[in-house]
């Protein structure tokens, strides 16, 4: 039996192949077990493998090491199998080991009886777009950072007005920056102003306390300012204990206290700097707030 190159069926296949190869995107076919059956030019461009090299490989060859360990490829195929289609974005790996950020659609192919024939996978390189997103995010973080500079309000007294939410990352950065300034400016007192922090929950309180403890290890005593009566109440309610940490409702009052402490020369004396987070000092906190 010979194949007539001009037969309509052959023509359709050839046209389909030309179509696939002129597509920029990767369009490949996997068998029902996830092994590569067809491979277009776009796939070669995206992944670096020629068709000869790629056909027969399991699709997990294009996933990162960590994802392979986590069984991500199998999971994605399973979802495509069960839902018919699966769309996702993630890191993929090229032949040379380098990474790209791809947006991927995996569609299950079934025959008229519903038997799974395999999968069609379409992928597009989104690395640049993701890099741009990352840059914007980083710039936004830096702007947020700039809105919280460490200010030297007096000789040996620093103030850190914290504005906005305080997540783990931000708290670390603020703490590092604060400690660096304590060292640089030989600060003895640090005023942490939290009037710009919308919610003081247990996590935020923990971040603050860690900052206070770290500052204390460097010989600096902390004063919390911007603690309104409602904030104090909320903290007591949450069971947040500030120990011997002094606090004032305004930055001005805190500065006044700081100057008093420096004048009296007892900023960080008295066995343990007086800033350990001991128990039963909630009453001390409320007493501080009541002090005019």
């Amino acid at each position: 039996m010979s194949i007539d190159p001009d037969a309509p069926a052959i023509r359709r296949v050839q046209t389909a192949e030309i179509m696939l190869d002129s597509l920029f995107d990767e369009v490949i076919q996997l068998d029902e077990n996830g092994f590569v059956v067809t491979w277009n030019r776009g796939a070669e461009r995206l992944k670096g493998y020629t068709a000869d090299e790629a056909v027969g490989l399991h699709v997990s060859a294009f996933y990162t090491e960590e994802d392979v360990r986590g069984g991500l490829a199998e999971r994605e195929l399973r979802i495509a199998r069960e839902a018919g289609k699966f769309e996702t974005e993630g890191w993929r790996r090229r032949k040379d080991g380098s990474r790209l950020w791809a947006s991927v659609v995996i569609t299950a192919m079934r025959d008229a009886d519903g038997t799974l024939l395999g999968y069609v996978k379409v992928a597009r390189d989104q690395t640049e777009r993701r890099a741009a997103d990352e840059l914007i995010r980083r710039q936004r973080d830096e702007i947020l950072e700039l809105s919280t500079p460490v200010i030297q309000v007096w000789d040996r007294v620093l103030a850190l007005p914290i504005i906005g939410t305080l997540d783990s990352n931000r708290a670390s950065r603020l703490t590092e920056s604060l400690l660096g300034q304590i060292a640089e400016l030989s600060a003895e007192i640090v005023i942490l102003d939290i009037s710009g922090v919308p919610t003081i929950d247990t996590q935020v309180a923990q971040h603050l306390l860690k900052t206070v403890q770290a500052a204390r290890l460097m010989g600096a005593t902390s004063i919390l300012s911007g603690v309104r009566p409602e904030t104090a109440q909320a903290m007591v309610h949450l069971g947040i204990q500030l120990g011997t940490l002094r606090s004032r409702s305004t930055l001005r009052d805190a500065l006044q206290l700081a100057l008093q402490m420096i004048a009296a020369g007892n900023a960080n004396a008295n066995g343990g700097n007086g800033n350990g987070t001991g128990n039963g000092a909630v009453s001390g906190l409320i007493k501080d707030l009541a002090t005019p």
């Binding site: 990162t64 090491e65 960590e66 993630g90 890191w91 990474r99």
Partner: protein, 141 residues
Amino acid sequence: MSAVIEAQVPVAVEIADEPDLLRVRTVLRQHAVAAGFGLVDQTKLVTAGSELARNILRYAGGARGGLHVEAVDGTGRVGLRAVFFDEGPGIEDVDAALGDGFSTGGSLGLGLPGARRLVDEFAIESSPGAGTRVTITKWRR
């Protein structure tokens, strides 16, 4: 870049004697620097490693122990993975050992829980007779 550095810095350190404690710290510091870790993250990793290495020296009963470090690739991030292993008697109650204040050595057992707080991923496998294996991972921020 990291491939070149690894050729110069040892990835495996035996933990059998006191001087090895210093060697572990040095190796971890070098790897952390090569991986581009900031000073704080370097310090956290070295400190965690010091705790885990000390555990091997003190509690593995003289059995073979060591450290293996490797650079790792996560989804879009790089990091270091350090495995501390020993063929000692193993820990009977791992959960208790991970709680603060646990102690069999007569001193405050801050080793494991403390180290755990300093890293991003912490896994421990240990059982009596099967030795102990602690794997810590820290990602570059």
